[in-house]
Symmetry: C2
Subunit: 152 residues, 2 copies
């Protein structure tokens, strides 16, 4: 039996062989806090990619929307997500579907990280950020405003 | 905060809300032992699907190959896999890439299940089973023969 294989990459505490730990995004590109990115599967002969994002305790991803769909499974920890106008508690192995052009954001708990796999199409559009008007509309709902402010 | 959401499906011990537990394959379709299938993400507007397979202790998936690529991440337990002519021990969160037209099989340990996510293109070819000649070639390697016989 091989201990090393060209087809198998081992995981050590949510870091993977031959997978670099990347910044989530360029810092000046969009607002976010304490998020890392690892691209686990990305090949020209694959229709989709699988990435692992980890949000540190108290951190959050960017509030954004796009035409492509996100399929997410939580791999580690817990937190909350906003999808559309729904704020929901999420825990390890829960599934989240983000439909096209739907505002979404992921927030880790204050005392736990939130690590998740995200499947996206290889060819996809760039995310859009909310305008001031979009934020006014989202914040019209008290639970959404509270979520966006990072309040529990 | 919502306790239920149309976008979030909760996990309870590797079963998910609104996801039926399916047979891996039709029993007369191909050889396998003690494998279940849950389709976690499958939509017409997604380029790929994400399925969860669970092999019970001592069980195994079908030995097969196909043109489409498999991207696999172990979600639970441990075991071994054959990819091409490489037999490798695999553990929780390890990544396995199955390139096009490459023989592959997953086997759970005798004392642990092997649960894994598998990403595949929405449009894909059907698996091929090995011919008697293919099996002779694969079994020419003692470690592969031992793997196929389920020996540790």
């Amino acid at each position: 039996m091989h201990t090393q294989s060209s087809h198998v990459r081992r995981c050590h505490d949510f870091r993977w062989d031959d997978v670099p730990l990347l910044e989530y995004k360029a810092v000046d590109e969009a607002p976010f806090k304490d998020v890392t990115r690892q691209v686990l599967f990305q090949r020209d002969d694959m229709a989709s990619e699988l990435r692992y994002f980890e949000v540190a305790p108290g951190g959050h991803s960017t509030l954004e929307r796009h035409a492509h769909v996100h399929a997410v499974i939580i791999l580690r920890g817990r937190g909350r997500c906003l999808v559309g106008i729904e704020v929901t508690a999420i825990d390890t192995h829960d599934l989240i579907t983000v439909p096209p052009m739907t505002w979404h954001q992921f927030r880790a708990a204050d005392d736990a990280p939130l690590g998740f796999l995200c499947m996206v199409a290889h060819d996809r559009d760039r995310p859009q950020l909310p305008t001031a008007d979009d934020l006014v509309q989202l914040r019209a709902r008290p639970d959404v405003a509270s979520f966006l402010d990072g309040a529990a």
